[in-house]
């Protein structure tokens, strides 16, 4: 056990902190699910990139600085502590990039990673479909082989950032005879290609954060297939491991939220015992999440792979985040329901906005019910639930 940081890591922290203090916008940017906010967030990503901070763990040639996982955790702590803007490019950075690094050709990496790092090209997820939610393998979109590529048709949905974004990474069935997770292929396709129609879907916060994406014989050349034809499931799964595991939800954001909750509780005046306990519980759990992450980091550095245990992680952070925000709204009392723009809103409605965002946590990235199935059967080895055959 050694929970200290090296002098180099502390130096990195100081550099990140100093840069953020000098550069984080004083006023929060408009939502990145508006045209104006999207542009402002892209500009922020470009500035981050200019400071070498947009994708710290990536190789230098693609825009990173080859930071260690420990340094990435430090970066995240500082980023959220500073109240820096949300990451408009996070789908690409956290969901697509791990698969690109593992399965991409050198040409694909050189083509797609640098503009992603600069925030120039923002990616939307194209996995879910009307009939493929929790049952993600039930993909119906299909691709037909043509000279030099594929014609992709079908419907994707719940595609975050697709309204203003530029590219879609999609799971599509290339073998019409196949079922379940066989015969799927991972495609990279531009959202302005002929045959693509994007229709925004307004989320609970009122902004079109989701979209339906209709694909009508969209031509995708062979060099925009990621991994081998028919191996799409494997390519996508290398990404979901990282979504549920270490890389998408760092402790930094929860530690920062818990510290702000404590501040809010101090300012609120006398609170009843139950509420005080709930504030303490949120703070305790954010710290516990940090310790759990350090344990995971230690295991990764020791060469262990995390696998289905990442489902434990996903349940914990998503439920913790939601409870934290529920507690925050109770601390605010009558002002808890006031949102952005309201004259009396505390911190311009940040807590209500965070609450709405936290509500999505138990749903996306694989619902928590699916995670519980995974824990039961693949972590604990309980007998499999009989599944219907299709």
């Amino acid at each position: 056990m050694d929970l200290s940081f090296t002098p180099e890591e502390e130096k990195f922290r100081a550099e990140v902190r100093a840069w953020l203090e000098a550069n984080v916008p004083a006023e929060p940017l408009p939502s990145f699910d508006t045209a104006e906010g999207f542009a402002a967030h892209q500009e922020w990503e470009a500035r981050l990139h200019g400071a070498g901070l947009s994708v710290v763990t990536w190789p230098v040639e693609y825009g990173g600085r080859e930071a260690s996982l420990t340094e990435w955790l430090i970066f995240e702590e500082e980023y959220y502590r500073a109240g820096a803007p949300g990451r408009v490019g996070q789908n690409g950075i956290y969901l697509l990039a791990p698969s690109l690094f593992e399965f991409g050709t050198p040409e694909q990496k050189a083509r797609f990673l640098p503009p992603m790092a600069r925030g120039e090209e923002v990616w939307a997820q194209g996995w879910s479909e009307p009939e493929a939610g929790s049952d993600l393998a039930n993909v119906h979109s299909r691709a037909e082989r043509v000279d030099g590529g594929w014609l992709v048709s079908g419907q994707k949905t719940w595609s975050s950032r697709a309204v203003h974004g530029h590219w879609l990474f999609a799971l599509v069935r290339t073998d019409p005879e196949s079922v379940r997770h066989h015969g799927l292929t991972y495609f990279l396709l531009p959202l302005d290609a002929p045959g693509v129609t994007v229709r925004g879907i307004h989320q609970l916060d009122g902004y079109a954060g989701f979209a339906e994406v209709f694909l009508d014989k969209v031509f995708v050349p062979d060099d925009q297939v990621l991994g081998e034809v028919g191996q799409g499931w494997k390519v996508a799964m290398s990404t979901t491991g990282s979504e549920r595991g270490l890389t998408l939800r760092s402790p930094g954001r929860f530690l920062a939220a818990a510290d702000r909750l404590v501040e809010q509780a101090r300012e609120a005046g006398p609170l009843d015992d139950r509420l005080r306990e709930d504030v303490a519980d949120a703070w305790i759990k954010a710290r516990a999440y940090q310790s759990y992450t350090f344990q995971t980091l230690t295991r990764i550095l020791d060469g262990e792979s995390i696998g289905p245990e990442s489902s434990i992680n996903k349940i914990f952070w998503s439920e913790m985040d939601l409870r934290l925000h529920e507690t925050a709204l109770r601390v605010l009392g009558p002002a808890g329901e006031l949102v952005e723009g309201a004259q009396d809103a505390v911190a311009d409605g940040r807590w209500a906005d965070g609450f709405l965002f936290a509500l999505a946590g138990p749903i996306y990235g694989g619902t928590n019910e699916v995670q519980r199935n995974i824990i039961a059967e693949r972590v604990l080895g309980l007998p499999r639930e009989p599944r219907s055959k299709r």
Binding site: L271, S291, F316
Partner: protein, 315 residues
């Protein structure tokens, strides 16, 4: 940055686990733990101890929990550090005895102190201070409790007694007891989850193992989530105490709150999974249930520790 046990820690834990598997119910198990050097870990070398720290006890406490050991490993460890802080004749007399097994010294918050009746010296915490009490007729009364293997005595501090520890030293002893008990509770809770998994795989109803029903799968999965998140928090708290970190008290309270909740949760789920047979003395399950209940409230329950954290953070 490294949060995890070393191979040496694991070996020590495994030795204790082997001992408990072979002699778990034996009368002389404390003597055997003494032979392995368990109560000597936190005793300094000048007092014939091993000069170790809280981190050196993590694997042992985890295994003690998994084996539902009733012996006062935590209470002896807290006593060792408390005596060292008190110093003087009390330390010189009792620390070598504690390390060698010649006598047992336990420290715990009052009024009910586990294993006080077999101790040579009892350190009892009251009102934020610690008092030394020699067990003799009139100073303690054995109490029946839900966890008989962790036998409780009501310890009476004589009127006008002078505290042997106050202030920071006294407060740190309460934190140490909470943090180390949290580690033990995580072991108890994990074993309760393991029992639930095993039984759910063996028992069939409606023509299939009950563990294939989501209604049980999800309950067990949720219990596991609580246990797995309590463990690194408990390790971190022990580390913070060993290093004297400024936030050690907050970490100890956080760990105990999480571990108490996790153990009570695991106990409830495990009993439910076992059904009627779990509700009997015919299965050993009750030993772990009892330990979860008693340790969840020992050294302050979850609510107590959350309030302590709230007081420190919010004021």
């Amino acid at each position: 940055m490294r949060l995890g046990l070393t191979p040496e820690h694991r070996q020590f834990g495994d030795a204790v686990a082997d001992l408990l598997e072979a002699h778990g119910g034996a009368e002389d198990v404390w003597e055997r733990l003494v032979e392995l050097g368990v109560p000597a870990v936190l005793v300094a070398e000048e007092h014939e101890g091993a000069g170790g720290d809280e981190v050196d006890l993590l694997a042992v406490l985890d295994q003690a929990g998994r084996a539902a050991l009733g012996e006062p490993v935590v209470e002896a460890a807290v006593a060792a550090r408390l005596l060292a802080g008190i110093g003087g004749e009390l330390a010189a007399e009792w620390l070598p005895k504690l390390a060698s097994g010649e006598a047992l010294v336990v420290a715990a918050p009052g009024p009910y102190v586990p294993h006080a009746d077999r101790a040579g010296l009892v350190l009892v915490g009251e009102g934020g201070a610690w008092y030394a009490v020699r067990p003799e007729p009139g100073s303690l009364t054995v109490q029946n409790s839900m966890d008989p293997l962790r036998r409780l005595s009501a310890v009476r501090v004589p009127e006008g007694a002078v505290p042997v520890a106050e202030g920071a030293l006294a407060a740190e002893a309460f934190d140490r007891g909470a943090a180390l008990t949290a580690v033990q509770l995580v072991g108890v809770a994990r074993r309760l989850v393991d029992f639930a998994v095993r039984y759910a795989g063996e028992r069939s109803q409606y023509g299939r193992p009950i563990g294939s029903f989501q209604g049980l799968q999800h309950q067990i999965a949720d219990a596991l989530v609580d246990v797995e998140f309590a463990r690194p928090a408990a390790y971190k708290a022990a580390y913070a105490l060993a290093k004297g970190e400024p936030d050690a008290s907050l970490d100890a309270s956080g760990a105990k709150a999480l571990a108490s909740d996790a153990a009570l949760h695991a106990a409830k789920v495990s009993l439910q999974v076992h059904g009627a047979i779990g509700y009997t003395m015919e299965l050993d399950l009750h030993r772990w249930l009892r330990r979860a209940w008693s340790l969840a409230s020992a050294w302050g329950d979850a609510s107590h520790h959350r309030r302590a954290v709230a007081a420190a953070l919010i004021g």
